[in-house]
């Protein structure tokens, strides 16, 4: 009888694709083990394996052959199944076993895998990505989504540089929108070369009393935060490992004019700009790591509305004046995700602007605890890569905004049907609470961005969220896993799971990897 039952399970499992050990190992969504905790007389004797009579009773209840693999501490035993099953199916069996008077509890022995940890040599210094206090919780998010090349992140910034820790294959052709020669610092006006020639200035060059400054390589800083080459055994990791990067250069010496910035924003989103060739790679995320005093002007708001209508989400730095974001544009524009900066401990950064117009906060660093990113050793002009390649700890709402832009690109990568408003909503509703009173929802937005929760929410919005238990609801063109466990259904329930498994493979296609990862949590 036992042989017949095992044989039946084997046939059913093979036919329905449950014996996908490769998937089980890779996705940790399958198991062939159940942990049973005993109670009563069986528990008293549980330092040894279950006796044959107990085991046979449990087999009858589970409807499948069981073998005691080993005895655990705490009155528990590991039972092995003859086949690998989806966790949902294993959970249903466990539930059947839990109904036995000798069993205090039973659960699938889930395969756990470490979260994705990049092998970049300086990753351990990037507290903003992984630390529990002030970080973005990215490693867990990366298990589900690391960034798709179909998503383009537009950076309206000071230009780009070649760097050994940037993947040139992820860069799409940008444009230099700086029209004034005194600002462009590259000897010409607008052209198709967004290379950053440096923005160093002499004292008083940007106005009386303004100090001399070395080149900031600000565009390279922000690019590194969003999309440094990751898992390449050197340097740092980016927030997003696969999405492409588009540089629209609009900041130069002394900053950038609104007129050039607005053109750069529109072009990045794929809108027409007079005299400039069309952008064939429209961005879904536009990062604005700059700002200045004053209200959101009419042309800024018009531009934000236009690019949002074109499908791009706009992320803006709150500003570094330590004041009210209401007086810092473009962060104070409507339809913009304004980002305040938090510290390594999750508190409010001393420099960040705050206020009711802030949507969310993200790590921006602090004096003494900056965010590590890409840099160049040139003081005025760039030193060519690789000789000039450098890394620097920086701080600012620029960096906070860049973190959020990288996460926003993860969300579009996880679910390309999201609208800009949905991305903003997900970032806010999944943000985690501030750890101390230096930031509140009245000053620093909804919370600190939680990349893992946000990605899971983006997947759920597409109907790909899975849960740890059982059941399949598949309606229409979607594929939604829900928690549902009906006791006593035995084999018919298993069949339902199997059909569900096939259904998910058929409907969800390539997104099944997300499902498996999500289900492992």
């Amino acid at each position: 009888m036992r042989r017949l039952r095992n044989g039946l399970w084997f046939v059913v499992a093979m036919g329905l694709g449950w014996l996908d050990v490769a998937t089980a190992v890779a996705g940790s969504s399958h198991t062939n083990r159940i942990i049973v905790t005993l109670q009563g007389p069986s528990a008293a004797a549980s330092e040894s394996a279950l006796d044959a009579r107990d085991l046979e009773r449990l087999e009858a209840r589970a409807g499948i052959a069981l073998r005691v693999l080993r005895v655990m501490a705490g009155n528990a035993q590991v039972l092995e199944l003859p086949v690998w099953l989806p966790e949902a199916a294993a959970a249903a069996i466990a539930e059947q076993l839990a109904g036995d008077p000798a069993v205090a509890g039973a659960e699938p022995d889930r395969l756990k895998q470490p979260w994705f940890v990049p092998n970049d040599s300086d990753y351990f210094r990037q507290w903003a990505l992984f630390e529990s206090a002030g970080g973005l919780r990215l490693p867990a998010a990366w298990d589900a989504e690391r960034g798709q090349p179909t998503v383009v992140v537009g950076l309206v910034d000071s230009g780009s540089l070649t760097h050994s820790d940037l993947d040139s294959a992820r860069t799409v052709p940008g444009y230099d929108f700086i029209s004034a020669l005194a600002i462009s610092n590259d000897g010409d006006g607008r052209d198709a070369d967004p290379t950053d020639p440096g923005d160093a200035v002499a004292a008083d060059e940007c106005g009386a009393g303004e100090p001399a400054e070395d080149s900031s390589w600000h565009g390279t800083q922000v690019t590194g935060v969003i999309g440094a080459a990751t898992d390449n055994s050197q340097g740092i990791a980016g927030v997003n490992h696969g999405s492409r990067l588009l540089m629209a250069r609009a900041l130069g010496k002394c900053g950038g004019f609104t007129s050039d910035i607005v053109d750069a924003m529109r072009w990045a989103a794929g809108l027409a700009v007079p005299g400039v060739p069309a952008n064939p790679n429209p961005a879904r995320v536009i990062n604005l790591s700059f700002g200045g005093p004053g209200p959101c002007s009419a042309i800024e708001q018009t531009a934000v509305n236009a690019v949002t209508a074109a499908g791009a989400v706009v992320v803006a730095a709150a500003g570094n004046e330590g004041g009210d974001v209401a007086d810092s544009s473009p962060a104070n524009c409507a339809n913009v995700i304004a980002v305040a900066a938090t510290t390594r401990s999750g508190g409010r950064a001393s420099f960040t602007n705050v206020g009711a117009a802030i949507e969310v906060s993200a790590p921006g660093g602090e004096f003494g605890d900056g965010v590590l990113t890409l840099f160049n050793d040139g003081l005025t002009s760039p030193i060519a890569s690789p000789a000039g390649d450098a890394f620097a700890f920086v701080a600012g709402t620029s960096i906070a905004a860049a973190h959020v832009s990288g996460v926003a690109a993860l969300l579009f990568s996880a679910n390309d049907q999201l609208s800009p408003a949905q991305v903003a909503d997900i970032l806010q509703t999944t943000a985690r609470p501030f750890p101390d009173s230096s930031c509140t929802t009245a000053t620093c937005g909804a919370g600190i961005v939680d990349a893992d929760a946000a990605v899971q929410s983006a997947l759920a919005a597409q109907g790909l969220a899975s849960s740890s238990s059982s059941g399949v609801d598949g309606g229409g063109g979607g594929c939604t896993l829900t928690q549902r466990s009906e006791p006593g259904l035995g084999l018919p329930l298993m069949m339902l799971f199997a059909i569900g498994n096939m259904f998910l493979r058929r409907v969800c296609g390539g997104k099944r990897a997300h499902l498996a990862k999500a289900g492992s949590k």
Partner: protein
């Protein structure tokens, strides 16, 4: 005796035709150089403003530079169209910020202008701790 091209009275039909052609050529050249549809002018020795003109205003057929300069009493030069009816102009000789505000107020009062704003500078928002 000195004559300007405008006031020169030709004595023959041939001369009249010739001078008419020259006048036309000169005005055409001036129009191309000054009209808002001229190539992008990248530099501005003064302050930059963004002017939103009334919908339907044909900027190519209107000598906005001259009209705006006359209106404000200071040289105003078209630089480029940003998009739709949003245009970038350079104001020269307005002086300090209050002078520029005065120019903007005068332009805003015109019926063919919807709004005017300064082309403000924006700066990067990162530091080195």
């Amino acid at each position: 005796m000195t004559h300007s091209l405008m006031s020169y009275r030709a004595s023959s039909n041939t001369e009249r035709v010739a001078y008419a052609f020259l006048r036309c050529l000169l005005f055409s050249s001036l129009w191309v150089a000054c009209a808002p549809s001229s190539p992008v002018r990248s530099d501005c020795d003064g302050q930059r403003i963004i002017v939103v003109t009334a919908p339907g205003l044909d900027t190519a057929a209107t000598e906005l530079d001259a009209v705006f300069s006359q209106e404000t009493g200071t040289p105003v030069h078209f630089m480029r169209t940003l998009f739709e009816n949003h245009h970038l102009f350079c104001v020269e000789g307005a002086g300090d910020e209050s002078g520029l505000l005065l120019v903007m107020e005068k332009l805003t009062r015109r019926s063919d202008v919807q709004s005017v704003e300064a082309d403000r500078m924006r700066k990067p928002q990162s530091r080195y701790p």
